[in-house]
C-alpha cells in the first residue's frame, strides 16, 4: 500500500503543528501521572481499589497495548508526561523555544547509543513486576523514579535522552511501533539533502530540533521516532508528512536491523510467557516465588526469567536459524540471519502481549468505577460508582479473541519470516530457510495458547 499523506488535509496538519492540543493533553497526563504517584503513597494499599494500580496497570496498559501501540505506534510517547518537567527545564519554556533553557546538554555516550539500557531496565522491572503491579506504594515509587530519572537525564544530557535510551516502556513501544499503520517521514529526501539548515534537527523559532535525536531526512523506521511532530513544525520546506500506511511496513525494510532490537523481541516474548504463567496460571508456588522478593524462591524465579529471555529463547531461536541456514545453504552469516529473523518475532510478540492483556483487562476493568469515584481511597463517592462491584466483562468472547489474535500473530510472523528469507534467497530456498523459524513461532504460540486459553 502506498502511504497516504494525512497532513495533506489542512485541519490535520494544523492540529498536528499546533502546540496547544499536545500541550494540554500532556499537562492532563502529567496531572494524572502525579495523581497516580500520590495515590500510590497515600491511597488505599488495596491494589484493586487504588487509582495508581487501576489507572496505570489496567486502564493505561489496556489503552497502550490494545489501541495505541498497534494503531499509533509511539503515539503514547507523543503525549507522555514523564519527560515533561525535564524538557521544560531544558527548553526554558512550556511551549515555543525561547533559548533560555537549563541543561548541561551533554551528548549521550556513544557506547550506550542503543537500546541495551532499555532492555536491562525492562528486565529489572520484569523481575519485580509481581510486586510493582499489585502494590500501590511500589507503583508510586516506580513512577516517581521514572520522573526523577527523566528529569536528571534531561538536566545532564541533550534532548529526550531518557526516552531514547533509558525508558523501559519506550523500548518496547519503539520495537512494536514498526507494525503501526502511521509514520512521520519526509516527502522527498532530495529536498532534505540540499537543505543546509537542517532545522528539523537543529531547531528553529517554530520548534525544537528533533528531541529524539533523529534526523528525519534519513528516517526509514518508526523505532526511534517519538511522533512529537517537532519536525513538522520546524521544516521550512514543508517536506515532512504524517502518513497512513500498511501495518508492519517497517518490517519489510532490510536495513538498520540491530542485535539490541533483536534481543528486545526475545525479552518481550519471554516476558509475555512468564507473565502469563505467573499472573494467569494456576501455580500458587510460582506466584509466591514471584512475590517473595529476596527469598531463595524468588532468586530461582528471577534466574528462570533471565535464563528464558536471555538464553533459552535466543538460544533455541539461534538453533532454528542455523538449521534453516544449513538446509537452505544460505551464505549470510549466522549473526546476520539471527538478527534479521528476530524481526519476525515483532508481530508475534505484539500479538502475544495483546492476547495476554485481553486476559486481565476485561476481567479487571470494572475496578475502574470505584477507583474513579474514590481515587484516594478516602471513602468518597464522586461519581456514585464507589460501590460498583467487580464484574468481568466479555469473558465469554475473550478466549476467542485471544485465539484469533495469537493465530493472527503466528501467521504474521510466518509471513514476515518468509519475507526476510526472501531477501537473500531464490524462491526455492526461501521456505527452507524460514521453516525452522516458523516452527519456533508455532511452538511459542502453542505455549501461549496453553497458558492463556488452556
Amino acid at each position: 500500500m502506498t502511504p497516504i499523506e494525512l497532513t495533506r488535509n489542512r485541519l490535520v496538519k494544523a492540529t498536528l503543528r499546533a502546540r496547544w492540543p499536545q500541550f494540554v493533553i500532556r499537562a492532563i497526563a502529567l496531572a494524572g501521572f502525579l495523581f497516580a504517584i500520590l495515590s500510590g503513597f497515600i491511597g488505599t494499599p488495596v491494589g484493586n481499589h487504588n487509582f495508581s494500580i487501576v489507572f496505570v496497570w489496567i486502564v493505561w496498559w489496556a489503552l497502550l497495548m490494545l489501541i495505541v501501540v498497534p494503531f499509533l505506534g509511539r503515539g503514547w510517547c507523543a503525549i507522555c508526561p514523564i519527560p515533561m518537567p525535564g524538557e521544560w527545564l531544558q527548553n526554558g519554556a512550556l511551549l515555543k523555544p525561547c533559548g533560555k533553557g537549563f541543561s548541561l546538554n551533554r551528548k549521550w555516550p556513544k557506547r550506550f547509543r542503543n537500546i541495551w539500557m532499555q532492555n536491562i531496565a525492562f528486565t529489572l522491572l520484569a523481575l519485580f513486576s509481581a510486586v510493582v503491579l499489585t502494590q500501590p506504594s511500589v507503583t508510586g515509587v516506580v513512577l516517581l523514579l521514572f520522573l526523577v530519572i527523566a528529569l536528571v537525564t534531561s538536566l545532564i544530557f541533550e534532548r529526550r535522552a531518557f526516552c531514547r535510551y533509558l525508558c523501559p516502556v519506550g523500548g518496547f513501544i519503539g520495537l512494536y511501533s514498526q507494525v503501526a499503520p502511521v509514520e512521520v517521514r519526509v516527502k522527498d529526501p532530495a529536498v532534505c539533502a540540499v537543505h543546509t539548515e537542517k532545522s528539523c534537527y537543529t531547531g528553529s523559532k517554530d520548534g525544537y530540533g528533533c528531541p529524539w535525536l533523529v534526523y528525519p531526512g534519513t528516517l526509514t523506521k518508526n523505532i526511534n521516532c517519538g511522533l512529537c511532530m517537532e519536525c513538522l513544525r520546524t521544516c521550512t520546506q514543508d517536506n515532512v508528512a504524517f502518513n497512513l500506511r500498511s501495518f508492519g511496513a517497517d518490517l519489510k525494510q532490510s536495513n538498520g536491523r540491530k542485535l539490541d532490537e533483536a534481543f528486545k523481541a526475545f525479552i518481550m516474548l519471554g516476558a509475555a510467557l512468564i507473565y502469563s504463567a505467573v499472573m494467569l496460571g494456576p501455580w500458587g508456588a510460582l506466584k509466591s516465588a514471584a512475590y517473595s522478593i529476596g527469598t531463595p524462591q524468588w532468586l530461582v524465579y528471577a534466574l528462570t526469567l533471565l535464563g528464558l529471555i536471555y538464553v533459552v529463547l535466543p538460544g533455541t531461536f539461534l538453533i532454528a536459524v542455523a538449521l534453516g541456514r544449513a538446509v537452505s545453504q544460505s551464505k549470510e552469516t549466522l549473526k546476520k540471519s539471527f538478527i534479521a529473523f528476530a524481526y519476525a518475532l515483532v508481530p508475534l510478540g505484539l500479538m502475544a502481549w495483546i492476547a495476554f492483556s485481553l486476559s486481565f483487562v476485561f476481567a479487571s476493568l470494572s475496578y475502574l468505577w470505584p477507583a474513579l469515584s474514590d481515587p484516594l481511597g478516602a471513602g468518597w463517592n464522586l461519581f456514585g460508582t464507589a460501590h460498583v462491584a467487580w464484574q468481568p466483562y466479555l469473558m465469554s468472547i475473550v478466549p476467542f479473541l485471544q485465539a484469533g489474535v495469537l493465530i493472527g500473530g503466528l501467521l504474521w510472523a510466518c509471513v514476515t519470516a518468509r519475507r526476510i528469507a526472501a531477501e537473500k534467497h531464490q524462491e526455492r530456498n526461501v521456505i527452507l530457510h524460514a521453516l525452522p523459524v516458523m516452527g519456533f513461532c508455532f511452538v511459542i504460540t502453542a505455549g501461549l495458547m496453553g497458558l492463556l486459553i488452556g
Binding site: 495523581f35 497515600i42 488495596v46 484493586n48 512550556l94 478516602a378 471513602g379
Partner: protein, 322 residues
Amino acid sequence: MKAERFALFFVIVLVIGIPLAAVLARSNSDAIEIHGQMADNGGWTPSDLKAQVGQPLHLRLTSDDVMHGFAVGQSAAPALDVLPGQWTTTTLVFNQPGKYTFYCTRWCGPNHWRMRGTIEVTGAASETITTTPPLYVTLNLDLDALHPSDVVPGEKPSAARGAALGVKIDRAGEIDRTQSPAQLWQALKAAPETAPLSDQQIWDLIALTYRARTTPEQLAEGRQLYQQNCAACHGETGKGDGVVAPSLKKTPMPGMTMTGHETVAPIDFTDAQNMLGASDAILEGKILRGGMGTGMPYWGPIFTTEQIQSLVDYLWTFQFDQ
C-alpha cells in the same frame, strides 16, 4: 509570552491544584480512621482507642488487605464486615467505664485471633456491676496440667441410649462444674443404684446428664460461636484439624520448655482420654484465659459468661451423642 504565562498557570492549576485539593478534602473527617491488616502485618491501626462514657465514638473502618470483621467483645452489637479498600462507619456508645476489646470476626489469616484492639472508656458508671471471679480462679485450678481420663468408653456415649435405660440419677441436670466426666463415671460406678449397669451404659447415662443440663438454644449458640471462633484451628468436627492447624506446630514433647512465643497443635476435642478428664471449670478457664504460650488465644474479653457456658456445652457434643 502571554501564551507561555497562560500555559504555566494551566500547569500549576492542573498539576499542583488538583492533587492538593484532593489531599485537603481527604483529611476532612471527624471520625477515627481504623485500618485493618492481617495480624502479622500490624492488625488494627490504631489499636488503642479512648472514649467517654455516654459519648458517641465515631469510627471509619477499612481493610488494607483482605476481608476483616469488626466487633466489640461482650457486646450484643452485630459484627461489621470491613472490606478491602472500602469504608464502613459505625458509632459506639459505652454506658460503663472499662477496657473493651474489639476484634476481627473473619478468618483473615493464621494469626487472625491476634487481631485485636482496646477501647478504654473513662467516666462515671451508670450502675454498679459486681463480678465474680471464674471458677478456675476460685478453685485455684492448674489449667496447664495434663488431665487424662483413667477410663474411656468403648464407643461414643449416647444420650438416647442413656434415656432408654430408664435409670434416674440424682445428679442429672445439675452436674458439678468442677467434676470431669471420668470422675462422674467413677462416682456412678460406685453408687449402688447404677453399679449393676455396664461400663458403656454408665457412659450413656453420663451423656444423658450432659444433654439434660443444656438446651437446644444454648447448643445452637455454642455451635455458632465454635464455628466462628474455634473451628479454624480445632476443625469443624473438633478433631484439631482446622484450616490453619497445619501452620501451627506439633504437640510439644515432654520436657520441652515453652517460651510463650510458640504455637502447638490444637487440641482434639474428639480425643476421649484427654477430654473426659477435663471439667467444665477447666474448659471455661482455658477459654477465658487462653493457652498461655500455646497459641490458643484468650476469650475473656470477647465472650460473655453465658456464651462461654454455651460453648462448653457444645464442646461436650464431641464426646457425647445427643
